[in-house]
Symmetry: C2
């Protein structure tokens, strides 16, 4: 049983961008929401990213609806693409009695194709109507989440409930990402809805902290797709006293919960990675700085040779070391230890005579860790990745809507 934050209503439908699967979602709040968002840093930005940024700015980050389609990313589509993204917002607004800028937008799917706007228009009108008649807010959540998926195999929803000053605050989030942790991953779209009462600045701070430690540790900073977007909408209906101090225990509680939630979403995305059979946590320990730790972790986590070795259950610490060595961080190979889970396989620049049977056992697990101790400092970082399998090739060589 899913617990929906007060005032929110979500619906999803099939409008015809995809052949038969659901492809259009509407996320709506009865009251305006202060909204924070983070977007792709790719210089090639999809139209929905450009339009959402404009609308956040124009509305003073007061948003009431999010319209999302899958099956077409509306990226690399020039002026027509911008026009279409804007029209999706304005039509949604029109049907719901909102200004265009109170609506933000996300799109995911094939790049470089135009949206079939006639179908999209009918879909939006239908969704706005469905919304008004929606009597089962719980089951319609699943329709909405269904309609944002592309190559995802599972719906990714996560919720939290917390007590803030005696009031029950709810958070509901969903994410889509076909999940490759690689910089080249397909689009990641995340939506977080909450009824908490909080200032805009603190909502920003909480989201940035949360994303830095979670979704940015599965995708490389600045190396995101054309459409990546994460939104958090807060309508304040929980009725708690507005959180306005960064040092308050209420803010810390919320910020901790949001980070924890985003970490769960990050792991969901990686576990459902395109072709993934294993969830791998790369832990880099005893680095001089967080930046260096993350760079080493990310190079290991994105190395095709490491990822294929994991797929093949091969305890190939050499590939781990080779990745660390080319990360650009000034490591000292003679100090480094490498573990798979608790099994030490490499210590201070030399291979350990480990038990092959035990190693195979660890490497065959569905969830495992690669731990690299640099022995240079005091900082540690976690980075989530998955293995690289035949199915990744199949999915990406044959991917069409």
């Amino acid at each position: 049983m899913i617990s929906i934050p007060s005032g929110f209503n979500f619906v999803g439908t099939h409008c015809g961008i995809k052949k038969s699967k659901k492809d259009l979602s509407l996320f709506y709040s009865a009251h305006p929401c202060i909204t924070s968002a983070v977007f792709t840093r790719n210089l090639v930005k999809a139209s929905p990213v450009i339009v959402s940024k404009k609308h956040l700015s124009k509305s003073g980050r007061n948003i009431q609806a999010v319209i999302v389609n899958s099956g077409c990313a509306n990226a690399c589509t020039g002026r027509q693409g911008l026009k279409d993204a804007f029209e999706m917002c304005s039509l949604t607004g029109e049907c719901l009695g909102l200004k265009p800028e109170q609506v933000v937008i996300g799109s995911t799917g094939v790049i470089g194709r135009y949206l079939p706007m006639a179908k999209v228009r009918s879909g939006i009108r239908k969704l706005c109507n469905d919304l008004k008649e929606n009597t089962d807010r719980t089951s319609s959540v699943f329709d909405a989440v269904d309609a944002i998926m592309t190559t995802d195999r599972v719906k990714k929803i996560s919720t939290r409930t917390l007590n803030i000053g005696g009031k029950k605050v709810k958070i509901l989030s969903c994410i889509k990402g076909s999940g490759m942790v690689h910089p080249d991953m397909a689009t990641l779209l995340g939506f977080i809805f909450t009824d908490i009462n909080i200032t805009k600045n603190l909502l920003d701070t909480a989201l940035k902290n949360a994303v830095e430690q979670s979704l940015n540790c599965i995708s490389v900073d600045g190396d995101t797709s054309t459409n990546d977007s994460v939104f958090v909408l807060a309508n304040g209906l929980a009725g708690n006293e507005c959180i306005s101090s960064k040092n308050s225990k209420e803010f810390k509680k919320f910020s901790y919960t949001l980070t924890d939630l985003c970490e769960e979403l990050a792991r969901m995305v990686v576990s459902d990675g395109e072709g993934a059979t294993k969830l791998v946590t790369v832990v880099v320990k005893s680095a001089r700085t967080r930046f260096e730790a993350k760079k080493v972790a990310q190079t290991i986590a994105t190395s095709p040779l490491v990822k294929t070795a994991i797929f093949g259950s091969d305890p190939n610490f050499g590939r781990v070391m080779a990745a660390a060595g080319r990360s650009g961080v000034n490591i000292n190979p003679e100090r480094i230890d490498v573990y798979f889970d608790n099994l030490c396989v490499y210590s201070k620049g030399c291979p350990i005579n480990f038990c092959t049977k035990e190693a195979k056992k660890v490497l065959s697990k569905k969830k495992l860790s690669i731990i690299v101790n640099l022995n240079q400092g005091k900082t540690a970082v976690k980075y989530y990745t998955c293995d690289l399998s035949y199915d990744y090739i199949r999915i990406n060589a044959e991917y069409c809507t």
Copy 2:
């Protein structure tokens, strides 16, 4: 019929590092050779790289033999690995009447394992003996080249003959590389032998120029494996007047030929890429600088999504654009044109309504180009890559000697 430069003699054998395939080669010159070399920039350097560097320096770059094994990279093997690499050189020297530092070494294969030195010792003694008794220098070249291969499917040999001041100068080269253009590629070892008479400095210059435009355009600078090495040995036996001026037409001729040869080797490596079914030339045009052009080209050439699209014969310019956009170069998406061979698919930030049938035809070719015109400047760069197929996964998930 292969034409061997004067004074060189190459032999290869099976010594037992691999189960049954050849795994040990000796490249020998009857006269000392001035030698230039380029090595991996990975901070995790394999023992043979460290030992070769030392020997080049100690001998004043006067080398007479190269000992190479496949099946074990002797990387991440600490002091024992260094001791083994040194012993391979000193034993080779001992058997041939050379100082240890007149011998350089290359190793390729699995990382993190020790060499079976008893087998290697017998193998070296046998090779040195074979060398003395070798009456068929031509067919033994193929044994030597065979013994440096790992996952390579074909022997990669290229030769050139040129006239320098009335003298016939010969170049023979061989290379091994399982060929992924990706930064994580398996080891690349290249050996170039020539009887030209040239100064050390100019041999350096020629090799650096050649590699920068060829082998460094298939692998990312600084992102090489633990063992990557390219050597050029010149024994001067062609009898030409020593080339000592950078502006001489003789030097230009040699330098041009060496670059052309290295480009051929680079294409061979990529065509034989692990699991490769297609050779792709990424051309980035009208960039502001060579550095920027190369960075964009490299990001496209190493993108798994681009490479899987090519495997699937999908004219997915969106993935090309997304890669360009995250390359870190300040591109202007609205100015960019993308072509597959001569077929324009994207122009000035908008998709072109191209003929799908024609696109499929281009994308199905064994050799094709992705051309990206940035329309920002005057510099162009070529970068070679291959597609990413099921076989890449098979080879790397199951790779063991």
